[in-house]
């Protein structure tokens, strides 16, 4: 596609429910990243996928968070048993090369009530 597409754009969920956030990167981009942007917290790295290599999960805040990337393209970030502190904007980005500059999607605003 022309850009990085994320869905849904907004998600309101009840505490304790599971949510799935989707990212469709730019075609041909082998690198895919998830970041979290919380109010007053800046941008926080979550996870990185590069080609067929094992993902770098070092930024995931807890074991309630997981992500996968199918066929080297679409990625899904799953948050289990959501907590109020999970409320944030979740941003996905893709890149042709690791340091070529990232293209960000518009994000998914998650609100846990």
């Amino acid at each position: 596609g022309a850009g990085v597409s994320q869905s849904p754009s907004n998600k309101v969920t009840e505490k304790g429910k599971d949510v799935e956030l989707r990212c469709d990167p730019i075609s041909g981009h082998t690198a895919l990243y998830w970041y979290r942007q919380s109010l007053g917290q800046g941008l926080e790295f979550l996870i990185y996928f590069q080609g067929n290599s094992a993902p770098d999960k070092s930024g995931l805040p807890s074991d309630r968070f997981s992500a996968e990337r199918t066929g080297g393209s679409v990625s899904t970030l799953t948050i289990q048993r959501t907590q109020q502190e999970d409320s944030a904007v979740y941003l996905c980005a893709s890149s042709f090369k690791a340091n070529y500059g990232y293209t960000f999607g518009s994000g998914t605003r998650l609100t846990v009530v």
Partner: protein, 114 residues
């Protein structure tokens, strides 16, 4: 590990005035530096990047930044701002060709007034 400090959290500026957003980084190795802009309710958009070569980098929308290795800085400038430049600006760094995690600064909110 690298880190980024954006020295100003808020920068109010009048339309057609110049603006400078300050960014300092810390890293023990060579770096790649980026400036991103985030307009309200939108994702981040790449303004410009420094990978190597000329230390003066020109980006979109009339912005430019200068890489200063001795001062470990990468300040962003625009000689004349518009109302539409009101946004949040993020400086980011990654070090070395094998490092892919962008470390972001806390952001600088620019508010342009008529």
């Amino acid at each position: 590990a690298q880190s980024v400090t954006q020295l100003d959290s808020q920068v109010p500026v009048f339309e057609e005035a110049p603006v400078e957003l300050r960014c300092n980084y810390s890293s023990s190795v060579s770096v790649y530096l980026f400036w991103y802009v985030q307009y309200p309710n939108q994702g981040l958009q790449l303004l410009l990047k420094y990978l190597s070569g000329s230390t003066l980098v020109k980006g979109i929308n009339g912005f430019e930044a200068e890489f200063n290795k001795s001062q470990t800085s990468f300040h962003l400038r625009k000689p004349s701002v518009h109302i539409s430049d009101t946004a949040e600006y993020f400086c980011a760094v990654t070090s070395g060709s094998n490092d892919y995690k962008l470390s972001f600064g806390a952001g600088t909110t620019v508010t342009v007034r008529a």
